[in-house]
Structure formats: structure tokens, C-alpha cells
Symmetry: C2
Subunit: 229 residues, 2 copies
């Protein structure tokens, strides 16, 4: 009887490609961060604000993940940043192979920090490693303060949480303490930074964290990833 090799778990193959991505990024001296959020949480605006705040200190490149369109990539390109668009054509998350293909199109020698905007979704992206140095959830005030309780998987996977649209805190019912408790419940170590990406208010804590992550030696960053995805 012929033995048939069985690939046991789809994540095994994805994790192997993720490891290749990470090695390639480390070799190029690039720090990569996977941004996960609901649709409309303001990921693209945060990316643009982050790149502007880091100008002259870290050169930012962007991978844009969407089901369809190049709306976000056009915004990023208009800001003069290197950008590659991935269209998943209905897929609810990026995976490591998509990122690998995007890295082929990215001028890696021109960037220090790679920000990857995942598909707007608080469920699926949590289950697929991309081969990055950190996973970050971008929450937003209008979504409400209960999201860490209701989408625990993605919050558990994050090394940090940006709470965007913080300029709306005075207009909307949002209990910041309840939100912080929710994050701490599923993820006791993740910092939470309120940011208004539109005005750049509060952006310093987040960009400071990114700079610190970038200055860590590659082996430390890799361990970081091995633990958390």
C-alpha cells in the first residue's frame, strides 16, 4: 500500500511560511507589526499618523490587506510611503503566504518598520501568524467598551492595544476603565494607549513603543514572537 503523506493542520504550513517571513525581515533589519481591527476602526489613518510621527527616525513601509479595492493603498501611496496591496477576494484574514508575496514587491532596503494592515475583522486574523515581531489590536471608541470580552481571541493574541478615536470619548458612552479591565482579563500584559489618529493626539506612547521594539536585538524579538505568535 502506498503511503500518503498527510498535512495534518493548515496552521502548520502557515507557520512555516511565517517563520520564513520573519527570518527575511530580521536579515533586512526590519521590524514588522500586524495591525488587527474591526472594519472602520481607523487602521489606515493610524498608519499614516504613525509614519508622520516617526518621520526622520524610522522609515515606514505598509502592506494593505482588504477583501477588495485599493482605497487604503492609494491613501498610503499619496503620503509617499512604499505600499503593497493584498486583495484577499473574500478571504477574512491575511496569511503568511500572502505576506510572503507582498514582501517580494516591497523595497525592503528602503524601510525600517513594516506596518501590515490586516483585513477588518476581529475574529479570523487571530488564528494566522504572519511572521511579525508584534500583533496589535486597534480598537476604537465608537465600537464600545465591551469588545475585549466579546472577541477574547484576538485581544489575547495582541502584544499591545491602541484605542483609536479617543477624541470621541467626550461625546460617546465609553467606559475606559471597563475597557482596560476587559483587556487585562484576557491579556494581563498588553499596554493600552488611547490615541486620536486623526489629530495625532496621544500618538507618542505608541510610536515610542514601536521605536523600542525596533531597537531590540533580533533574537529577543524572535523570542517575543515565539511566545505570542
Amino acid at each position: 500500500m502506498t503511503e500518503i503523506p498527510i498535512v495534518r493542520h493548515v496552521l502548520d504550513a502557515n507557520d512555516q511560511v511565517a517563520a520564513l517571513n520573519l527570518a527575511r525581515l530580521n536579515q533586512a533589519g526590519i521590524t514588522a507589526v500586524n495591525l488587527m481591527a474591526s472594519p472602520g476602526a481607523g487602521k489606515t489613518t493610524l498608519i499614516l499618523a504613525t509614519a508622520a510621527a516617526l518621520a526622520g527616525r524610522l522609515r515606514v513601509g505598509v502592506i494593505e490587506g482588504d477583501l477588495a479595492t485599493r482605497i487604503d493603498a492609494d491613501r498610503v501611496a499619496a503620503a509617499g510611503l512604499p505600499v503593497v496591496q493584498i486583495n484577499t477576494e473574500g478571504g477574512c484574514h491575511l496569511d503568511a503566504a500572502m505576506v510572503r508575496g507582498a514582501l517580494d514587491q516591497m523595497p525592503l532596503h528602503q524601510i525600517d518598520l513594516l506596518l501590515i494592515e490586516n483585513v477588518g475583522n476581529l475574529v479570523c486574523p487571530a488564528n494566522f501568524s504572519l511572521g511579525v515581531h508584534a500583533n496589535v489590536v486597534v480598537a476604537s471608541v465608537p465600537e464600545g467598551d465591551d469588545k475585549p470580552f466579546k472577541y477574547p481571541g484576538i485581544y489575547a493574541r495582541a502584544q499591545a492595544v491602541v484605542l483609536n478615536k479617543a477624541d470621541l470619548l467626550e461625546y460617546l458612552e465609553f467606559d475606559s476603565a471597563a475597557f482596560a479591565r476587559g483587556v487585562a482579563l484576557v491579556n494581563p500584559h498588553a499596554p493600552v494607549w488611547p490615541v486620536a489618529a486623526r489629530t495625532r493626539a496621544g500618538i507618542g506612547a505608541w510610536t515610542g513603543w514601536l521605536e523600542a521594539l525596533h531597537t531590540q536585538p533580533a533574537p529577543d524579538r524572535e523570542e517575543h514572537v515565539a511566545a505570542a505568535g
Copy 2:
């Protein structure tokens, strides 16, 4: 050689259970609507506002879909409505079998209109029929006006669109005409109603549509579903 039956497409099985759900609802004289939205678009608040606006005319029951927690079901129960919570435990959408199980727990003789709150997600729910009379997208102003372009699958599947948090239109950058163009591009026949579920402003057009849907004879409603899922 033994013939092995192959179930060719996971949706086939789901569609069969969806048809059973629909037949059961029709027999009970219940109209069912599947509400799909991003996390935090205000589905639960819309459900509560809808039930209050329809009080004395249609008796509303609710199925709440979440990855985890019973936060939403508790809110609905506090309003005195029959409610069943489904926890998908990480799954990014409801399916027909989950709804079938929930129908077993629902006092069907006590309700006219069943509102099903799907998991907060603009991707996965579009691909699974539940066995309902209409699918509705609940958009929200803070998400931005580009969502129909970026999530065309779910907008294409909707019989109607509620644009919630319309009370924020004066505070946020949101181009209502661009949003309407986006909906029309992927779905020329779906009406769009701006609603502020929190204050119930604009709720009449939406609840009027629900009442009209409920008064249609069951065969008409079934054809409606056969065409659109």
C-alpha cells in the same frame, strides 16, 4: 470497489438545514431577519429600539450570536424579550444548525418577528444562509462611508441596509451620498435607512419595512429568500 459518498460542498448541508428552519418559521407564522454588521455597529441597541417601536404591533424574539459572553442576551432579556444566546466559541459567523438549535429554545408561539443578531463580522456571515426571510446589513457612521466598496460580498447579500449612529453624522466625516453610491454599486435594489438606534430617530422607515415584510404571504417571502439567500 466500495463507493464512498462524498458531500461535495459544506454549504449544501447548511442550505438544507436553512430550508428546514424557514419551513418551521413559516408554519409558526414568524418572520425572521438576519442582522449582519461590524463589531460595535449597534446591532443590539437597534434590536431593542425596533422591539420598542413595534410594541403592540409585532411581538419580537431575539437570537443573539457572539463568540463568547451573554452580554447582549442579558440586555435583551432585561427589556422583557424572549432571547436565546448562541456562543460560537471562536466561530466567525452563525450557521443554520446553530439557529435550528436556538429555535428549539425559543417560545415560537409568543413571537411574530425573530431578529437574529449575527456575529460582529463583515465577511464570514455573508456565506451562510440561516433560513430567514431577509438579510440586513447594519452599517454605522463611525465605520466610514467606504465599507460597501471594501466588503462587497455582505452588502450584495442584503435586502436592506440600516445606517446606524446617524446622530453622529454632524460630528464625523461621512459622505452619505458616497455611501449610498457604494451600496447601489453592489446592490441596486437595497434601500438604505439612516437611523439613530440610541434615540430611535428615523426608526419608522425600518420598522415599517419589517411590518410590510411580515404581512406578505409566506410563499412570496419564500421566493424572496430563494433568490437572495
